[in-house]
């Protein structure tokens, strides 16, 4: 029986053709059909001690929801998912499944793991398109008020969990639209904004209030939230301070942080200019510095904005590129070039202050550094020039101090990240929890959601038991 299941090949996700999709903003993977989902779900061995669940930061009952799909009970599948995950349509798309659930799947030892991500996405999309639109029932009201600061993945998770437990939740969002990095950062072609809006509206149906245009720390402080009657506060504001490289010429026109480039394009819909008013430069020859998922998003966005060439410039080698394998694969299919073992040294501009090119140095790999990766070392005299009119700096983010400056009694580490108890997210300030990138530094959507889940449990104890 088991052998037979291994022989059925893993479902292949239908995708837009690379030559077509690299010039449009529509979603790249098209989703599994019902038949494909049924076949894929039948591959699951329904392990008694499922390793996949251990690999999931929010402990979704993976065999459980897959079993429902296999039995053609798609509503049952989404209900199973919702028990542990308020954002299945998002997670099915952006989780690094290969390192988590699928990485632990027993089928992966001999062949290919069950396509858990595809199935999660299938169940969520099916519900959104043809389901009843019903939301999970919330518990009887507790009379407690919770403020969630930031409407990104961790904040939405906290909100969903605490609503279910009967608490009143208000989400404070700095931008005019809820979703955090899911709306300003991750591009439309990887996560359609309509999906984020639908997951947010489910929370609203469950009773969440959302106050957009509220910059906590500037518009209102955490102490003022307590004065207004909130019983507990969750901080999930993300990292939010872009790193630059501090190289000569970095303020030339045409050099963007990834945050700015993606926010202009995604949140402000610069790709629809002039229908939308926020402009975005359409570079002919684009260079993206960095090799994480955000760098891939930036590079693929530049291609869709009509670039003739898009290069990823990265100082280490292919093996060290931090982006997911799938993102690298998609980028290469879309004719993004990888210029590896290369580090920029300065930027050049014209008399109007506009970027015309950059100088780089070739690197070679030396001894391993603190991260365990081999340290890139410059090759002397290897300077060369790359002509470009647009550069996106995507080398990570630091902790934005706007909120923490206004709340001096919350302890920070030496990088300015909030110190939160790793198991509960509790901060040094009474009644305040934190999670996601503001605690860990830039990481993934699902890790932020895992932190939100842990914090919500701890907050519930505090709100009901007083500790």
């Amino acid at each position: 029986m088991a052998d037979k299941k291994i022989q059925v090949p893993r479902a292949t996700m239908p995708e837009q053709d690379p030559d077509v999709r690299r010039r449009n903003f529509e979603e790249v993977p098209l989703g599994l059909s019902s038949d494909m989902a049924l076949t894929e779900a039948a591959r699951c061995l329904q392990c008694k001690n499922p390793a996949c669940v251990d690999g999931c930061p929010v402990s979704v009952d993976i065999p459980g929801f897959i079993k429902q799909i296999a039995q053609n009970d798609f509503q049952g599948a989404i209900n199973k998912l919702w028990e542990r995950n308020a954002l299945p349509a998002v997670c099915g798309r952006v989780c690094p499944q290969e390192e988590q659930c699928e990485g632990k799947c027993i089928l992966g030892k001999k062949g290919s793991p069950v396509a858990i991500g595809y199935l999660e996405r299938f169940a969520a999309d099916r519900e959104r398109k043809t389901g009843t639109g019903e939301v999970p029932a919330v518990a009887e009201t507790s009379g407690k008020k919770v403020a969630v600061i930031g409407s990104g993945p961790s904040g939405l998770t906290v909100a969903g969990d605490l609503l279910l437990k009967g608490h009143s939740v208000t989400i404070f969002e700095a931008f005019h639209k809820a979703g955090g990095v899911l709306v300003y950062g991750i591009p439309e072609f990887r996560l359609p904004k309509e999906i984020v809006a639908s997951e947010v509206s489910a929370l609203v149906k469950m009773g969440a209030k959302i106050e957009c245009n509220s910059v906590v720390g500037a518009s209102i402080t955490i102490d003022e939230l307590f004065e207004e009657g909130y019983d507990a506060v969750y901080i999930g504001v993300g990292a939010g301070l872009p790193r630059f490289m501090n190289l000569p010429g970095e303020n030339l026109i045409g050099i963007y942080s990834a945050n700015e480039y993606l926010t202009r394009t995604n949140l402000m819909k610069g790709y629809l200019f002039p229908e939308y008013d926020t402009p975005i430069a359409r570079g002919k020859h684009v260079v993206v510095l960095g090799a994480g998922n955000v760098a891939m998003d930036s590079a693929r966005t530049a291609m869709r904005l009509g670039a003739d060439s898009v290069k990823i410039v990265y100082r280490r080698s292919r093996d060290e590129m931090p982006a997911r394998a799938e993102e690298l694969h998609h980028a290469e299919q879309e004719q993004i070039e990888f210029v590896l073992l290369t580090n920029p040294t300065q930027f050049f501009g014209d008399e109007n202050g506009r970027l015309t090119g950059m100088e780089c140095l070739k690197m070679e790999l030396g001894e391993p550094d603190a991260s365990g990766r081999r340290r890139p070392v410059p090759v002397e005299g290897s300077e060369f020039k790359i002509d470009c009119d647009l550069v996106v700096v995507s080398v990570g983010s630091n902790a934005n101090p706007l909120l923490t400056n206004s709340t001096p009694d919350i302890a920070l580490n030496r990088w300015g990240n909030i110190v939160g108890d790793p198991a509960t997210g509790k901060t040094s300030k009474k009644g305040v929890w934190a999670g996601g990138d503001i605690v860990t530094g830039a990481a993934t959507v699902i890790l932020a959601m895992g932190a939100g889940r842990a914090a919500a449990n701890s907050m519930h104890d505090y709100l009901t038991l007083g500790w």
């Binding site: 005019h176 245009n213 500037a218 872009p242 942080s257 945050n259 002039p274």
Partner: protein, 277 residues
Amino acid sequence: MAKIVNREEMAQGTIILNEIEAPRISRKAKPGQFVILQADETGERIPLTMADTNPEKGTITIIYMIIGKSTARFKELMVGDEYFALIGPLGKPTHIENFGKVVCVGGGTGIAVLHPIARALKAAGNDVTTILGSRTYDLLIMEEKMKSASNTLHICTDDGSHGHHGFVTDVMKKVLEEEKIDLVVAIGPIPMMKFCSLITKEKNVKTFVSLNPIMVDGTGMCGCCRVSVGNETKFACVDGPEFDGHKVDFDELAKRLASYLDLEKDSLAAYEKCKIK
């Protein structure tokens, strides 16, 4: 929320005043801080430093010049209309203390930004001399308000239609020569702030300027508003908008402000064409 409760056209309709309902912001805002406004869902986020606040009434006042599509769209918003988004107060407040003798120099809509700062400086006990400039007298704004926010007021017009015939820098130079000045605050067009700062640097008089680079989020998240101050890159939205005028690279700022000039022209032209239809 963000409803316009009062609207005035100034400077022959080229500059508009909006008093907007914003109870939370009005209670928190301090001189020198800004807000970000968006007219509608498809609109741009436009940063504007507040010209006044009224915490009792729960309103703030902004004053903008019509220069592109976004401000042309703002102009259509009348009393009773609401902005789609209003965020603030953002940026660091002006450092107010009793410096002694202070000269405030303002031009264009910079006068609106200067207004609460001059008023606070005067209230803190400073002797405030204000010098305002415009191309012609009809384009000058807030003369009466600035008069009451200052101990002495000078007006300059490029065409000599009122006050001193010439630039604000002429009068500022004269004032600096006549008495010992402890602080200059210069807010207006970039050339004005640049030349004021050059003069005060020579005379070694501490000078603040308020910068208006292009912004997106206004909370330090994108780095669009970076300016070179001394040899450092600063984000105007969170490190400013006020900086030491002697250290600001005004030429870089002017170039960066022109980043999207072509696109902005196209956008405005398309909008005007659409309106004619």
